[in-house]
Symmetry: C2
Amino acid sequence: MPSDPSGERISDAEHAVMEVLWDHSPRSATDVCETICDTRDWSIATVKTLLSRLVAKGAVATEPEGRRFLYHPLIARSAYVGGESRRLVDRLFGGRASSLFAHLAQSEALSDEDLTEMEVLLKELRR
Amino acid sequence: MPSDPSGERISDAEHAVMEVLWDHSPRSATDVCETICDTRDWSIATVKTLLSRLVAKGAVATEPEGRRFLYHPLIARSAYVGGESRRLVDRLFGGRASSLFAHLAQSEALSDEDLTEMEVLLKELRR
DNA sequence: TCGTAAAGTCTACAGACGTAGTCGATTAGC
DNA sequence: GCTAATCGACTACGTCTGTAGACTTTACGA
């Protein structure tokens, strides 16, 4: 699975559309709109524009289905998420993931549940 | 220390300037330029523009010093970093920091050192 | 004293982004 | 067959961003 065919960045609004497609695809523009137009208070036109831009960026592909298109992601969610996480860690924590973790811990952004889960994960990683 | 007086977002280029000021302030525009103009390949004009925008956004304040201004941050680095981290975790991991951690772990973005540090931190947090 | 270097302010401009309207083609239902 | 709904393509437009030049004032050195 390609991580990011083009190097183009995906904007916030575009990302919201990607989430819909990652959740379930392929879907038509109308389908996508039905899922987010209400919550984001968008018109169908906005969704169409964002989809075209995503296609132009090589992040989404289309397949014809009758008179319309069905859209599906070309980049995996995990690749996107990984890239964004890395960007953040690089930009703000000098590439040290543990610094990010320390920050979250210190700012009390970690719930008890978070801590437990991480302990489990750490044990697994150490095996 | 206020976390973010205005709600205005700080852009990438602006953030680079903030880092310089966080590292050491107050500084003049020229000082800032001396620190980053080379690495980012910017002209002094660019730095001046970014500084004005940061002042307009309420992220940086000035104090007159003779004929010029000295700039210093109005928002703490930790507040900024915290906000950005939270945004990422909210946007990509449904607010669960442990999911981010799991992702970093899975994508092998965690070094041995990272793991050790986190173990130490976790133990501390549990005390 | 006088010019010049430097500081801040204003203006500029192309590209990205958020948001959406219009238009021409097509299709589905009557 | 014809009309109304629908689809994608194209156009629009204000704002934000990155990047920087031009202009104005001022202070310091010769």
